[in-house]
Amino acid sequence: MLTRLKGGKIYDPTRGLAGTVGDIYMRDGWIVAAPAAGTRIDQDIDVTGRVVMAGAIDMHTHIGGGKVNIARNMLPEDHRGDPVYHTELCRAGCGHVAPSTLTTGYRYAAMGYTACFEPAMLPTNARQAHLEMGDTPIVDKGAYAMLGSDDFLLRMMRDGADQQRINDYVAWTICSTQALGLKVVNPGGISEFKFNGRKLDLDQENSHYHVTPRQIVHTLARSLHELKVPHPLHVHASNLGVPGNFQTTLDTMVGAEGYPIHLTHIQFHSYGTEGDRKFSSQAALIAEAINRQKNVSADVGQIMFGQTVTASGDSMSQHRNAAYGSPRKSVVMDIECDAGCGVVPFKYKDKNFVNALQWAIGLEIFLLVDDPWRIFLTTDHPNGAPFTSYPHLIRLLMDKSFRRDALAQIHPDAATMSTLGSIDREYTLNDIAIMTRSAPAKILGLTDCGHLAPGARADVVVYREDANPEVMFTAPEYVFKNGTVVARDGEIVAVMWGDVHAVKPQFDRAIEKPLADYFERHLTQRLGNFRISDDEVRGLTNGGELRVHACQRDGSPT
């Protein structure tokens, strides 16, 4: 079937289109070139005056895996306020801070998102993450496997294993867990916490293995570069949330020594210690460092005021943060000589000085980083806020008077300490299209999403332009997934199952020999049961495909 979207204003930054009026053609789930004159158009939709973009991509959202289920378990009181009723098409569930997987898929799709990436898949919990992502409808999925506090890597590094062997292990982990990328969380720190350490600075040695976070970040960033995995190392840096941690963040950027790295939820890592309360914004320094170092990208992890839940692999930080939880409860776990996790509900309040400044810091970073191709729109769902707050966040970025009004509402001392009021920049629709479509596709190595050129998946969103971007981005007029209309005006009209995205870096199978031995001697499951095969992951997608992306990276470290 050939479908034409006629006469829309196309924002496709991948091809340099910023509001260019034109037609989009879709056939059998893919974008195709304009057909020869006279070809029969089966479905012709007039979108004159509408804004047309590719489906949005959330490159960092905690949608599946053990810690999300822990959050669900802990917070029935939050879910009660947002019941989701089944319809002819859709399953029942619930929403708000840790929605059911079904609701997650429907709501993302209704908002114009067609791909979501789980950023913290513990290798030992990978099967659960894929099971949950498999039950998340409509959107495409993928995940970054987490290493960096796992005993196998730390043993290798302690024993001076050469980079090639480490690359084999990294590639084996990515392949065995069906991951699209690799993340490191509080490098070495989750392990350190198991040895009763409460802090691990960038150049502090893990007390058991005597390797430092700096070495771990460098080793893993280099590994991905040499394996040509498109997505750079996804780094949740040391000292999350600690006042004064901006220096660690700056040092981590430098520590990558030119290898590409992506710093995640950087808002939580941009804190100074100035002022009476010893808590201040260092967003300007951080933004300036990103502007200068082209090997660095970041997502923001914007906070929004209200109830949410923080779910992180960083057990060390979450144990510390548990004291600030609201409601006051927390789950912290040490996990399988592999990683850890911590889940702490939070209520961010605009009249709370720290929360208010966190909010301002996130926005400062958005507005002070010049290049929208290297800064990504996230709330670190649900850590900063549930993903459903994105339209509001987009308005804050696009509308400076709205932003100033919001700034006037927050704790006055925080407002005073922030430079936000003096920043005039307003994001354009094209900027938004870059940071939610083209740039995530580029940084993840997805050549067939995030743009509207022939050969892309027909994931297309049609918006009614509105003076209020929050209205515009909440309920697009049409959302197409694989060429099918799945949502109209915020309502799900068809349910389908998205694909799983993965990469398969090459490695020497000989690494499985020491690994199998390690599993048998030290762990409580066998290597053969840990590994997830291609067929297995296909069996979890409810009919979606496994899309394997090429491992290629250009150039040498900058």
């Binding site: 053990g66 999300v68 289920n69 822990i70 669900r72 378990n73 802990m74 917070l75 029935p76 879910h79 009660r80 019941p83 989701v84 009723y85 089944h86 399953r91 029942a92 569930g93 619930c94 929403g95 840790a98 059911s100 997987t101 079904l102 609701t103 513990l122 030992t124 919990n125 099967r127 659960q128 099971l131 949950e132 039950d135 005993d151 198991k194 040895f195 009763n196 058991h208 144990h319 548990a322 006051r328 409860k329 789950v331 912290v332 776990m333 040490d334 996990i335 399988e336 000589c337 889940v343 001697r521 030290h522 762990l523 409580t524 499951q525 066998r526 053969g528 049961n529 297995e536 409810n542």
Partner: protein, 431 residues
Amino acid sequence: MTTAPLIDQACPFCGLACDDLVLQGGPDLAVRAGGGACPRATRLYAQVGATLQDADARAWIAGAPVPVETAVQEAARLLGRAQAPLFGGLSTDVHGMRSLVALADRCGAVLDHMNADGKLRNLRTVQDAGWITTTLSEVRNRADVVVCFGSDVRTRFPRFFERCVWVDEPMFAPQAEEREVIFIGAPPGVELPRSPAGRMPQVIDIPAGRLPEAAAMLRGLIGGSLPAGTATDLPLEALRAVAARLHAARYGVVVWVAADMDWPHAELCVQSLTAAIGVLNQTTRAAGLPLGGSDGDFSADAVMLWQTGYPYRSSLATGTARYEPVMNATAALLARDEIDFMLWTGSFDPERRPPDPGRAALVALTCVGTPLLPDAAVQIQIATPGVDAAGYFFRADKVVALPLRPMIDRQLPSVAQLASRWLTGLGVAAC
């Protein structure tokens, strides 16, 4: 399917899901001698994995053998006219549970697991204050002190000590013989496990019914202040020594089995333990290990949580999920005569049988080895995940989900197959 020995198959017969067994396939499924299994696994593989002859009945209506298809249709008819259905038992794997939740969503059923009472003791603690816990491999490699509270552990988790405590080469903890194992209030008369060299664990006896006080006392001792009015007839000095030992430990682990804490408000006892662990973590490391997962309870729970957002004991009767853990207990629903239909699933243990259904029509999906149930309107023998069905099983620590592979073929339907048949009968496609 095969007569060659099968290796690396996860055992689904308790929450430990040991995957180091050596099994012998077809026609009977059996644990090969010396293949790592415990007596429970040996017995259950033999019972649940027994051969069926072609002539053996696989389904019954009101106690009379019928072809499976006839039973499936009768069950569909009963479900179709049900006004207030309950899906109980829920002893199945991830795939089975996914299909049951999908079916429950369509027909407005309540979902409750056979082990929910035990689970609730822990859940109330998590929902009230949270906790710090650990997983099997961490215990294996790190625990220098293991305190087992209110349980001998081994009855329900036969290979726990073998696999997680008395191991040859822990990466960080002392060697097996140096590890300290302390039992507080183990059930009387149960033989407690000895170390490989025959060393007895330390045992602190607590009189029957006094475990909650002992837990509160331990919590007080660890926190440095005993609650006022502390009983004087409990072994205070021995508990004081345990508190000191846990403070001095590098990685103390407190194990409890909620299924064994069968008294009213046992969650308060769990809370005493988790609060004590919280205090220990201010200065050293310690973690709880609330063992569960047997009868697929963590598998069912995980699916409930991700598909509906709530634990089991939730109802889908109003078109959305409502979590009411007291109201939706099977026994309470039956006592109030509030259900007219019960679909009961028991995949792993022939000893676990449905309760008296009262006036509700009972459709029982039972594993091989389960006797004919006199109360069942329909009874269908089902394939067991890890024996003759594929599936996934969440282990005792809720982190590791192991694949369960079919090893023999007895032409029995899986829960997922049956549920999707019924779902199709209701005119909708599966999730």
